[in-house]
């Protein structure tokens, strides 16, 4: 796949374009990318194994910390699976409150993405504006849940905090402000020339490729796959709410931008509906400590796509197996396809366009030599040589790289 005439350069694991560590090895010919390969796993923290050693309630907080931006997605997905196994019927008010936080999270995530996308194409002004607007929703979330991320609002059987009339008012006001701002961004996305030039025709993923490679979320919806778990497999209160699934046929990064902007507008509507229709009642039911044996698959439409949790219980108070399939894992496989035959300058925005969240994706264990208790400090020189050898094994030889680069230019 990597032609020997091309220069292979590493992008990552540390690189300003990447918000989280992942390693891309790009084969370059001049400014054109001829091949790319992805290596993930840098954010692996051993969460799935750790879940098996903790009770279900402890696991809610652990699973929530799989990711900072889509924390509520993971916690709700997990809690839904456990509630299904236990046969719990949670009160309607709890479902609506979960939906409220879910949509607020989607708003904050998409605004964050807009800013990151702007930064990747050198449009820092967009970054500053969207993140300024994002503060509005972060303040609301902090007022409702006590935290800007990792809300801790779910419990098995419902939610932990309620919302009062004054908070409802504030939420509605915030939606009005954000809607005005989003309309401005939509206008910008449709009319600003430099933005269009950098986003259109970039990171193309045809409808067939998207389907074959299993793209989910806005990445898939930009290629005409109008799958949305909220509509296809309704959970929480989505079955009773009225909203559209935004899907376009642009097949490129511009399409993904349009989809996310459209979803922002839909989220504002959904939040307003939830506030209006919020039913009275309890916010949780009592859940048993020991969950009966069983298994369940729970799906959730996270801001990045379909999030899938599989939980198997064995009658104790600790789960037998928790499997988390984050949406980015499904989307990362299309990145290599999208980068084919593009310019190096497009790489950051193409990777950013799938809205990668590698913390969601990897979950691993680290090794520590506790038996010997010797301090395993590694001298700088050893790490440096180890790094050079690692790259050499992958085909990137820094010593001869400059000769190859000068030859290829």
């Amino acid at each position: 796949m990597h032609d020997s005439g091309d220069v292979k350069i590493p992008i990552g694991p540390q690189h300003p374009a990447l918000k989280e560590p992942e390693s891309f090895l790009i084969s370059l010919r001049g400014e054109k990318i001829t091949a790319s390969s992805v290596r993930l796993g840098y954010n692996h923290r051993g969460i799935e194994k750790a879940c098996e050693a903790r009770t279900y309630t402890q696991d809610i907080y652990l699973i929530e910390r799989v990711c900072g931006i889509c924390s509520h997605s993971h916690s709700t997905c997990f809690v839904q699976a456990v509630e299904e196994i236990a046969g719990l019927d949670i009160p309607a008010r709890a479902k609506y409150l979960r939906t409220l936080i879910a949509e607020l999270e989607r708003i904050h995530s998409h605004l964050l993405w807009l800013g990151v996308a702007g930064h990747e194409i050198g449009f820092d002004t967009l970054l500053m504006y969207t993140w300024r607007d994002r503060e509005v929703v972060m303040d609301i979330l902090a007022a409702l849940t006590g935290n800007r991320v990792n809300y801790g609002i779910n419990t098995i059987g419902g939610v932990r905090r309620d919302i009062n009339a004054k908070q409802k008012e504030e939420v509605l006001k915030a939606m009005d402000i954000l809607e005005t701002q989003t309309k401005y961004y939509i206008d910008l996305a449709q009319n600003e020339t430099t933005l269009l030039k950098r986003l259109q025709g970039v990171g193309v993923l045809s409808h067939d490729d998207a389907q074959r490679l299993g793209a989910v979320g806005p990445t898939g919806r930009a290629s005409g796959i109008d799958r949305d778990t909220r509509k296809d497999d309704p959970y929480a209160a989505y079955g009773e709410l009225d909203f559209k699934v935004i899907s376009v046929n642009n097949n490129d990064v511009y399409g993904r931008t349009l989809v996310r902007l459209g979803e922002l507008m839909e989220s504002f509507n959904l939040v307003r509906q939830v506030i209006r229709k919020l039913p009275e009642g309890a916010i949780s039911v009592k859940a048993p400590r020991k969950i009966p044996a069983g298994q369940a698959v729970s799906r959730y439409e996270a801001p990045r796509g379909e999030d899938l949790h599989f939980v198997r219980s064995n009658g104790t108070d600790k789960p037998d197996r928790v499997k988390v399939r984050a949406p980015t894992l499904a989307n990362i496989q299309s990145v290599s396809k999208m980068l084919e035959d593009r310019y190096l300058a497009d790489m950051p925005i193409v990777v950013a366009a799938i809205d990668p969240c590698f913390s969601c994706t990897d979950r691993m264990v680290a090794l520590r030599d506790t038996q010997n208790r010797k301090k395993n400090t590694v001298p700088w020189e050893t790490i440096r040589l180890k790094g050079i050898k690692w790259y050499k094994d992958k085909g990137v030889d820094f010593a001869s790289l400059n000769k190859k680069l000068s030859a290829s230019f």
């Binding site: 350069i9 300003p16 374009a17 930064h119 449009f123 967009l126 430099t194 950098r198 190096l344 400059n402």
Partner: protein
Amino acid sequence: MLRALFHILIFPGLLFLFVFGFLAEYADRKLYARFQNRVGPPWFQPIADFIKLISKEEIIPEEADSLVFKLMPIFALIASSVAILYIPILGERAVYAFNGDVIVVLYLLTIPTFTYFLGGWYSRSVYSMIGAVRSLTQLFAYEVPLFLCILASAMLADTWSISGIAAFYSRHLGYWFCNIIGFGVALVSLLGKLEKVPFDIPEAETEIVAGSFTEYNGRPLAFFRMSFNIEMITGASLLSAVFLPFGLNLHPAAVFLCYILQIFFIIAAISFLRALFARLRLDQMINLCWKYLAPLAFLQVLFNLILKVVLPR
């Protein structure tokens, strides 16, 4: 002799350029921040950055050519500093003027770009090499429109000396209007020369870390950054002298004030354009320059040629 030293070291030489450079950098960053709804840095930020960089350890990569690495920033600094001696600041006449100094100044202003290329290439790091090549590729795109616009202006003024150009236009203020297209094109080309958004492709942070300057740190980086500021002042002064010939015959203090205002106007325009656009891709930038800027510049040259023939002397 003493006079020459004064001009080289104090005004309009190094001391003036350093101080004014810091002020210009502050103005640029503050305006950029305000456009983005941010607060922006305090007035002493550029000075603080410079002092911090100077006092830091200098780490030169093993593979890099140490001499070139350290010399390039100094060359960039010197080239842009020398150029200012030929550009009129206080009035119509620069410190040193001779027929043909417009070519010398344009050439001196090209040298910094070559130092960016050489510095990046001899840093021998992947990202700096790519950035270095991008610098040169970009050079071929924006230099031609810039040269043509200045040429057009010089043609109408019938002289190859910047001081002569300034004198001509300040005497025949009506002709200033003829060069308006040239001014616009030159401003955009200046963005390219200064490597600012939308033309900061050689330094694209999200793609190639810092381009040519990836491996730079400590004193060499401080001097490179200083050379950016001085290049901005010199470039703006050039544009101001050639295209904005106002207030050149008044009392010296008023003249200086006019000069400062003109420079800040150009810097404000640069900051505005910086905040307004996304970064272009290299192929898009070259397309833009050759499809739009160069033809416009040619148009300006043609227009001025016709004017020269038609109008009485």
